[in-house]
């Protein structure tokens, strides 16, 4: 029997406790040091728990939604710097969100990462020995080749039930039908589950290593491949499963799930210099020409050589750097996007993709075929 989890209880309260009076006095804040593998240092002050942690240092440019960012499993193995300087303005709804977040010259750090690329780093409020910290940064594990999905996936399957009469996008529910979705958990964000259930899906969340056979045995109407941290290439188990699943059922992938789908379709992925993390990335839908402002969090991307295969079609492009943001299979009911249509944090411009997934499950057919000309929209220079 698969246990049911009520995601509604996880919903962030819209009005939160004010952080008034919670800021500790400055003079009591201990010093902290961030050391990068390239020998760069950023001094700051630590608050919360004194500690030390290592990870890949990345930046996120979203203006609000710090709690959602800082609790997102896709940041597993990373140290996130929020570029917006005021954090904690509206409090948090639970107290256990993070341990240490030093105040450092975040803009200088961002400029460093922008110029030199994402770097491994160590943050410590325990020692000020710089050489030691750099050594530790260099010794810390590299993102490339690292299978982090295994670290954040669920231990065993659980179910999330459709919300009857759910609001918002649930209105797009087709004919009141309830779909059964098997969602692969590579580090799934709760808001994805909330959106699927609000749209009328009963969801069975399964561990990342679930085989295609096990998933299909659950008799789903569709397969969802979730977001998650790290490099997609080592997730061989998931890539193999996806290869079978897209032949069998309507499939929708987001973020790491999209990269896994790209790999399953014969493509390759590469590591971006400093990644895309923020809530303001413009993504063009090549079918409609429309531009959505999207929430993003990824350090790897699918190489456009994937579209040498005439069965695959580029559907979404990032307008800042021309990277692949979405594709679909022409002959199969499968599509995926690199960005986060569920937002949280971020704009709700792309909620339509959930409806598209529902339509695929409803008809079992691929989405309307697009003229080939659109695929020529792949920007050069990648």
């Amino acid at each position: 029997m698969i246990p049911v989890r009520d995601t509604r209880s996880d919903v962030l309260d819209s009005r939160l406790v004010s952080p008034r009076g919670t800021a500790p006095k400055l003079e009591r804040r201990p010093r902290a040091l961030l050391a990068l593998e390239d020998g760069a240092f950023f001094e700051g002050r630590s608050f919360g728990r004194l500690g030390e942690t290592a990870g890949e240092v990345v930046f996120n440019t979203a203006l609000c939604g710090y709690q959602e960012v800082l609790t997102d499993p896709s940041y597993q193995g990373q140290i996130v710097t929020m570029t917006y300087p005021h954090i904690g303005n509206y409090g948090v709804n639970r107290e256990d969100v993070e341990s240490t977040r030093p105040q450092v010259a975040t803009r200088a750090l961002t400029r460093h990462l922008r110029t030199h690329g994402a770097k491994r780093g160590v943050i410590s409020a325990l020692t000020e020995n710089r050489d030691e910290l750099v050594d530790r940064a260099r010794a810390s594990r590299s993102m490339t080749g690292l299978d982090l999905a295994r670290e954040v996936t669920c231990d065993k399957p659980y179910r999330v039930e459709a919300i009857e009469g759910g609001d918002g996008d649930a209105r797009s529910r087709l004919g009141g039908r309830t779909f059964h979705v098997v969602a692969y958990d590579f580090g799934i964000k709760r808001n994805i589950l909330r959106m699927l259930s609000a749209a009328g899906c009963d969801i069975t969340v399964v561990p990342a290593t679930t085989s295609a056979g096990e998933a299909l045995a659950l008799e789903p109407d569709g397969i969802f491949l979730s977001n998650g941290p790290g490099d997609p290439e080592p997730c061989v188990y998931a890539i193999e499963a996806a290869r079978e699943l897209i032949l069998a059922k309507p499939t929708f992938g987001i973020c790491l799930g999209h990269q896994i789908m790209g790999l399953a379709c014969g493509g390759r992925t590469f590591k971006l210099k400093f990644g895309h993390r923020g809530a303001n990335h413009p993504v063009k839908n090549l079918a409609t020409g429309g531009v959505a402002i999207t929430s993003q969090n990824h350090g790897f991307a699918v190489l456009p050589e994937l579209f040498d295969d005439p069965d695959l079609e580029l559907t979404h492009v990032n307008l800042n750097d021309g990277t692949v943001e979405g594709f679909r299979h022409r002959g199969l009911p499968a599509f995926s996007v690199q960005y986060h249509p569920e937002a949280s944090p971020g704009p709700h411009d792309s909620h339509y993709l959930f409806t598209q997934f529902l339509k695929l499950m409803d008809s079992g057919e691929p989405p309307r075929t697009l003229p080939r000309a659109h695929a020529a929209g792949v920007p050069p220079g990648l």
């Binding site: 979203a62 203006l63 570029t83 917006y84 005021h86 923020g278 531009v291 800042n320 704009p347």
Partner: protein, 898 residues
């Protein structure tokens, strides 16, 4: 249309009655009050492909109930969760779609109930607005420019972001700093007006500040206001009024919030009284707490933290008991120096190609000064009465001219409403307060060849001497010459030496001295504090009793400076001259004759170019005196001289060796950009090299007319005087004086009537003077109505005038007649005399009902001329380009005075 909030039935009735009275269609809107709710604005854009982006979110520090133009506002929104923010974003998208803004920007305002979280849309402006200008400066995303491109068919993704050059405009700016806008008010100009803030906007300008935290930005903004506050603090508060000031907001409320925090009032109590969000109060509390640790012997760490929180050197000096200079030296010795960060639309994700900078106290500076030849131009700070966009015009033109001369230009200003603070006006933009500390920090970083202080009005002029003493080269007229012109004693001696007549005057440091001086000069006298612009606190005083009352007020208006007492030249004509000097030569740009008599501030007078009623010999005298003054002061750049002509004597009232308010007017009338010429002089080019050896002429009549904000200040009298009250101006052009005057009046919102009923009410002194105008109006066909004294006089002189009641004499009275649209022109001259309740009511109603109301005889004469011209000629238009075709520049025909 003004709004009002009411709390009870009685108030409601009064407000409804006033609203119905004011409404042209006799309708009012009654809405649920969202008083005290949190207020937000989203600046959004949409293109023809239905792409939608939010450029900026803005949160009002002051809750609903205070007009957003009168609120301190903060960008981005500080106290919204992502969930709340996205709900607002979604609503904004639905609104802009539904309203049907196919392309362009909109401003959408929201109120959020802090208790329930309920969100309502309160307003939508389908156009660029004051807030979109702010949002553009706050983010570096040029909304109006992009809107223009969208209007001609581009979509957002087809437009490149100027700042990153590689990313498209179809994105939402990410910012990694905090922007605070603070309004600037001018209640000192409208003493009768109620200074409390509500749903009717009353501010006249604003300052914007950028910092890495709210605390830093708030303190930078407050010192940028130029109201005597060196940050989040004022020394002149009355602790007994804290409660009242928290409950009834006025411009000083934020300082009373500080005072309450100082005294340990709980944040919760202040929150309940003000509705200000606890987050903001907590931030301010942090400033207060740090401030308490700053005293003599403060340690380096605290000092550094204070600078990070935006404390100015001046404030730290006060707290530690040293001079500002000493505080600065100490700070620099400790190595606590500002760095400059870029406003780049993307939180540093991409490289920025535009040096749009703000200061903060961190480690890494992104300023990257160049090795080019460079000049720094100081802007004019927040708009206020007496110092508005005219000076910004000069700063921009100055910058363009220096660029044309091959210089890199560096602009320093803190006014988001200006062109000078566009990131592409100058080569480099520092969005910083115009204080000695902030300017000097930039000078030390950039090391410009010189600093230009003559374009930005009084704000940079006040910095001339301190910068000069700090070893900074001031371009153009020397600081000593500026001081010579500003210092009454030195200036008076200069005029005596040049044998140029001046009104008798004296300087008084106390009431006793003021009485003495006034008695020596003889009443009436013009009194004012020294070093002011816009006639701040200036008054004409007719006797000793009035003088006493004034001096008490004026001393509080400007404590460091004494009071100036001048002989008031009654019945004189005033003339303004803008001229250019290069040290060896002076060229006159324009001689402007004021239409109103002396006694009305030059900024509030209509002025005509060329002069239309001045004898040629007086014009020669004016030219001669201007030249001699310009050479004596070694003016390099612009100068403005004010003259008064009484009888056969030409007096010099004052000389300002800087750009004046009329430079744009003269530049547009003559077709010669005076500020550019001045900049080239400062760059080393003589007037001769620029082909400027002759005084400039004009080919038509150009009339400048002020625009007043009286409508916004119920209760204030529109009576003009030596204190400037106008907030803008318009220009009318025609070959015919009367038509030019009528056009200017129309542009200012006062249609000159060509028929109907004229109401005349003048004081005894003016009765003889008004007679020819009354007769002319009668001959034209106007029906004349007048109050008792005036009617009797006119009838006795053979001009038929019907009697109309004063307000207290019965009904229908004159105000009833105005309201029922039975009066089309009002001539009402109370200048310099006791004014009665009637006068105020008449003028106020004239404004409310759009009836042209002239308050001086000379303006009456001009109006009669305008009526005659309108009845005779059709109004024609031509472009400035047509007017300034080279062949056309000839002297206009001599005017035909009435």
């Amino acid at each position: 249309m003004p709004g009002a909030s009411t709390y009870n039935g009685d108030e409601f009735e009064a407000v409804v009655a006033r609203g119905l009275d004011l409404s042209p269609v006799h309708e009012i809107l009654v809405e649920e009050s969202v008083l005290g709710w949190k207020e937000y604005e989203l600046e959004v854009m949409r293109d023809h492909a239905d792409n939608f982006v939010v450029i900026c979110s803005i949160e009002n520090f002051d809750p609903m109930g205070i007009h957003t133009g009168d609120s301190v506002t903060v960008a981005p929104a500080q106290t919204l969760t992502d969930r709340e923010y996205q709900a607002m974003r979604n609503a904004a998208r639905r609104v802009i779609r539904e309203v049907g803004v196919e392309t362009g920007g909109s401003n959408i305002q929201f109120a959020v109930d802090p208790k329930s979280g309920r969100m309502v849309v309160i307003e939508m402006n389908p156009r660029v607005s004051r807030s979109s200008a702010l949002a553009s400066k706050a983010t570096g995303f040029p909304i109006a420019k992009i809107a223009a491109l969208l209007a001609i068919g581009y979509s957002l993704d087809e437009i490149k972001n100027d700042i990153t050059r590689v990313t498209p405009a179809s994105f939402e700016p990410a910012i990694d700093y905090v922007v605070v806008k603070i309004p600037r008010w001018a209640f000192e100009k409208f003493r009768e007006a109620n200074p409390s803030l509500g749903t009717q906007m009353k501010s006249v300008g604003e300052v914007m500040a950028i910092g890495r935290t709210f605390k830093e930005a708030l303190q930078k903004g407050l010192r940028g206001l130029e109201i005597g506050a060196s940050g989040f603090s004022r020394d002149d508060l009355d602790d007994g009024r804290i409660q009242e000031m928290l409950l009834t907001p006025d411009p000083d409320r934020i300082f009373y919030v500080k005072r309450a925090l100082d005294l340990g009032w709980p944040q919760e109590k202040i929150h309940q009284m003000t509705g200000i969000d606890p987050w903001f109060l907590d931030q301010m509390q942090q400033i207060v707490e740090l401030e308490k640790t700053i005293g003599p012997g403060v340690d380096r760490e605290t000092l550094r933290e204070a600078k990070r929180m935006g404390f100015s050197d001046a404030r730290i000096a006060t707290l530690t008991g040293v001079s500002e200079a000493e505080a600065r030296v100490r700070r620099q010795r400790e190595g606590i120096l500002p760095v400059y960060k870029r406003v780049d639309t993307c939180a540093a994700e991409f490289e920025s190609h535009t040096p749009y900078l703000y200061s903060t106290y961190e480690q890494e500076s992104e300023a990257l000064p160049t090795e080019r030849r460079k000049v720094m131009i100081l802007g004019s700070g927040p708009n206020r009465i007496g110092q508005g966009i005219e000076f910004d015009y000069c700063c921009c033109h100055g910058s363009f001219a220096f660029q044309e001369e091959g210089y890199e230009t560096i602009m320093v200003n803190c006014n988001p409403e200006t062109v000078s603070t566009d990131y592409d006006t100058s080569d480099r933009l520092y969005f910083e307060p115009l204080t000695f500390e902030d300017v000097m920090n930039i000078v030390e970083l950039e090391r410009p060849e010189g600093v230009v202080i003559q374009f930005g009005g009084q704000t940079p002029l006040k910095l001339a001497l301190p910068l000069h003493r700090a070893g900074v080269r001031i371009l153009g007229t020397s600081p000593d010459a500026i001081d010579l012109a500003e210092d009454r004693k030195r200036f008076s001696a200069l005029l005596s030496a040049l044998d140029i007549p001046q009104p008798r005057s004296g300087t008084a440091a106390s009431l006793g001295e003021a009485k003495e001086v006034a008695a020596r000069i003889g009443y009436p006298v013009l009194v004012r504090p020294s070093y002011v612009l816009g006639g701040r606190a200036m008054a004409i005083v007719y006797d000793e009793a009035h003088l006493e009352g004034y001096v008490r007020e004026a001393v509080s208006a400007s404590p460091e400076h004494p009071v100036l007492v001048d002989c008031f030249l009654e019945d004189a004509y005033e003339v303004d001259v803008d001229a250019l000097g290069d040290g060896d030569r002076v060229v006159i740009g324009g001689i402007m004759e004021h239409i109103e008599e002396a006694g009305i501030h030059s900024g509030d007078s209509s002025a005509v170019l060329p002069p239309y009623k001045i004898a040629p010999r007086h014009l020669d005298t004016i030219r001669d005196m201007t030249r001699r003054l310009g050479l004596a002061l070694k003016v390099r750049g612009l100068m403005n001289v004010q003259f008064a002509i009484r009888g056969d004597t030409v007096y010099v009232l004052e000389v300002n060796p800087r750009a004046s308010r009329t430079v744009p007017f003269v530049s547009k009338a003559t077709g010669v950009p005076l500020a550019k010429v001045a900049a080239r002089i400062m760059a080393g080019r003589t007037l001769q090299e620029q082909g400027m050896t002759e005084d400039l002429g004009v080919s038509r009549f150009f009339i400048k007319t002020p625009v007043f904000p009286f409508m916004k200040f119920p209760g204030s009298d529109i009576l003009l005087g030596p204190e400037m009250k106008s907030t803008g101006e318009v220009m009318g052009i025609s070959e015919d004086f009367g038509i030019a005057f009528a056009k200017a009046q129309a542009a200012a919102g006062n249609m000159v009537p060509t028929e109907g009923t004229a109401f005349i009410s003048v004081n005894d002194y003016d009765k003889g003077g008004v007679l020819p105008h009354a007769r002319a109006l009668h001959e034209i066909g106007f029906q004349i109505i007048a109050t008792r004294g005036t009617a009797e006089f006119l009838n006795a002189q053979g001009v038929p005038a019907e009697l109309v009641f004063k307000v207290n004499e019965g009904r229908p009275n004159v105000v009833d007649r105005i309201k029922s649209r039975g009066i089309h022109l009002i001539i009402n001259t109370p200048l310099g005399r006791e004014s009665f309740y009637d006068d105020g009511a008449i003028r106020t109603n004239a404004i409310l009902h759009g009836v042209l109301c002239v308050t001086t005889l000379t303006a009456a004469a001009a109006t009669v001329q305008a009526i005659r011209a309108l009845r005779k000629h059709a109004v024609t238009v031509s472009t400035l380009q047509e007017i300034h075709q080279p062949a056309e520049r000839v002297e206009p025909l001599a005017a035909a005075p009435v």
